[in-house]
């Protein structure tokens, strides 16, 4: 099969083009010579099946950040038939040197000059034919967001695949110092083939920035925006969640109960009260999570995250991090795993390690589900949002405290230089793709860890035979009693201790496990939870869940990204100790105050 690699700088619309070219069949995989996972997809171009690999966005083939090294070693170790480079039409002066670097390696790239609509609005005219002739490679003007030029890009790719021979570059090092020449070449190309106004004026962006980057108003507006995102998730998500729960219940009543009723009682209890209700309750949170990722995608694609980095850098600098670290913390609110991977843009290892130590404290969507579940069960509708807000603040506090404590040991001289892209309307297709990836991600987790976790918890809470399900005498309560010396002082009952044990694997299991072990739902379940913990114990439980290791996937990512068992070990030990100390402080403090 022929292989196409997509390269380009950040903010050029690489992933939009990738999604447009390949549809939704992408998967994440491992590649020779590359220690990280890359997104790839198979598609049909002309009459051939072609594999398309989306490489990380980079500024420079010869740079020193992990992303740049990833691209380099991918190209060194994998035969590529065609390199496709996506360029931002409004910044050809800035982007052509990278194209020339690729050209110089003997890989005749197909250059897709993207965002041509935006460039035209700015008064930029590009002579694609002449540019193509000078560069001796195809140049297509396109706009991946509205589909202009996509057909032509596709046809050019089909043509070029017919004629190219695979290249295996091993001459890379020889070109390491030829950059200045390339820049001069790029500049002469731009002056010949691109006409642009002497000064680009992005009126819209400048108008927005005057308000959003205002020295005094900027930060409050940022926090207001984040607050609105979470408020929207909460208010719009709750009815959606009820709807899914209702549908699942309907299915249970109409189909599952009559059918499964024929089974022996134990098996019925296991399948319906345990597995179905357990997984179903977890599934009912999926709409909330999708909604959350939709809104995050909108914020991310609009170009606002780079502004967030600008606004928070002064604060983050004091903590030994930088503005990008804050953006990664925000990304971590969705899921810690991609946020950890996002630290690859950092060149300095100590800054990367510090950011990776801090990110697991950001309150990810899986933990959000547990908190919504518990606050809805145990607190009034007025109290619940306040407690959620408190949890977000605790999440930031833990991250900042960690950075302060470890920042002295992990000092860095990383330059903080970040591109500030213009504001853009998020592309609906792109936002929908994010939602789809979330559903796929959930189904994958549900079919592996969550089912296994729920089944194990059901077994532990229903056996040995003759014990009260979810009560004394079960294996779970024995296990829980054994953990009591540690978890008792922080107000966690032996049953909840077992739940925490499984929460180590994935936080969604916590909800599934609570439902499966009791076989209860709705008001009865809330009643049961109330016997397990009062409101102080519930907050202590949630603080513990917030702070201890988020999930096995996060740990695995920390290990694969840091390539250090020691770092991963320190991270587990620190988060467990912090979780215990904070919960202990909170619970004992509340008891002392007489609650």
């Amino acid at each position: 099969m022929k292989r196409i690699a997509i390269v380009g700088m950040p903010n050029t619309g690489k992933s939009t083009f990738f999604n447009r070219l390949t549809g939704s069949s992408s998967r994440v995989g491992n590649w020779p010579g590359v220690t990280v996972e890359l997104l790839s997809a198979r598609t049909i171009l002309g009459s051939d099946a072609v594999e398309v690999v989306d490489l990380p966005g980079i500024y420079d083939l010869h740079g020193f950040s992990d992303d740049e090294q990833v691209v380099r070693s991918f190209l060194e170790n994998n035969a590529v038939d065609q390199v496709v480079m996506i360029l931002n039409a409004a910044q050809l002066d800035h982007q052509l040197p990278l194209a020339l670097q690729i050209h110089k390696l003997g890989m005749k790239p197909v250059l897709l000059v993207n965002m041509i609509d935006e460039a035209e609005q700015l008064g930029i005219r590009i002579d694609a034919r002449a540019l193509s002739k000078s560069l001796d490679c195809p140049v297509i003007l396109m706009s991946a967001r509205n589909g202009v030029g996509l057909k032509e890009a596709r046809e050019t790719l089909i043509d070029s695949l017919l004629s190219v021979r695979p290249v295996k570059p091993h001459v890379l090092k020889a070109y390491l110092h030829a950059d200045d020449e390339l820049v001069a070449h790029a500049e002469s190309l731009v002056s010949e083939h691109v006409t642009a106004p002497s000064r680009l004026v992005r009126k819209m962006t400048e108008r927005f920035d005057r308000i959003l980057l205002h020295p005094l108003l900027g930060l409050p507006l940022f926090f207001l925006a984040m607050f609105l995102v979470f408020q929207a998730v909460y208010t719009l998500g709750a009815p959606l969640q009820d709807a899914v729960a209702y549908l699942l219940d309907l299915f249970r009543g109409w189909a599952l109960e009559p059918l499964a009723g024929l089974l022996p009682t134990t098996l019925y209890g296991f399948l319906v009260d345990g597995l179905y209700d357990g997984i179903g309750t977890v599934a009912s949170f999926v709409p909330v999570i999708i909604l959350f990722f939709f809104l995050m995608a909108v914020v991310e694609d609009s170009g606002y995250l780079a502004r967030a980095a600008y606004l928070t850098d002064a604060l983050m600098a004091r903590l030994g991090l930088d503005g990008r670290g804050f953006v990664m913390l925000l990304m971590g609110f969705g899921c810690n795993v991609p946020a950890l991977m996002g630290t690859r843009v950092m060149r300095s290892r100590s800054l990367r390690l510090l950011s990776m130590l801090v990110i697991p404290f950001s309150l990810c969507s899986a933990r959000l589900q547990v908190f919504i579940f518990i606050t809805t069960a145990l607190f009034t509708p007025q109290q619940a949002p306040v407690i959620l807000f408190f949890m977000y603040m605790a999440s930031f506090a833990a991250a900042f405290l960690t950075a302060l404590l470890f920042g002295k040991r992990l000092k860095s001289d990383e330059p903080f230089v970040l591109e500030l892209p213009p504001y853009r309307m998020p592309v609906l297709f792109q936002v929908l793709m994010r939602g789809w990836h979330e559903i796929a991600h959930f189904l994958k987790r549900a079919s592996t860890f969550i089912i296994t976790g729920v089944v194990l918890v059901w077994w532990l809470t229903h056996y040995p035979e003759g014990s009260t399900p979810g009560g004394a005498g079960t294996y779970a309560s024995m296990l829980g009693d054994w953990m009591q010396p540690v978890l008792g002082p922080i107000g966690i009952s032996s049953m909840m201790a077992v739940v925490l044990l499984f929460g180590f694997v994935a936080k969604e299991i916590v909800i599934g496990a609570i439902v499966a072990m009791t076989g209860l739902q709705g008001a009865a379940l809330n009643g049961y939870l109330a016997t397990q913990m009062d409101s102080i114990q519930a907050i202590s439980f949630m603080l513990f869940i917030l702070l201890y290791t988020p999930c096995l996937s996060t740990l695995a990512t920390q290990l694969s990204e840091s390539r250090s068992w020691k770092f991963t070990g320190v991270s587990i030990a620190w988060s467990l100790s912090l979780a215990w100390l904070v919960s202990f402080g909170f619970y004992q403090g509340a008891l002392l105050l007489g609650y």
Binding site: L213, P415, V417
Partner: protein, 92 residues
Amino acid sequence: MKRVQKSMTNLSRLGTGETAHITGIHAPDDVRQRLQAMGLRTGREARVIRCTRLGPMQIRVGSVDLIMRRCDAARVEIAACDTVRIDIATKK
């Protein structure tokens, strides 16, 4: 447009709206490589779009807007003689 004559040595000393030509970058090889790839190259013109006392600066080089810390901007040497002040839309 009026010319301002100040003796300046690096980008961090420029104020909002001021422009100068880059004459060099003083940093270790890897840092310089990164700054150059982002567009900060000798001979280019850099303009300060926004700067505050505590936070990073916003710099425009060619078609690209960058945000960078003052301490990193200090690594970028600029020509002292051709500093030009242009009244641009972003007033402070």
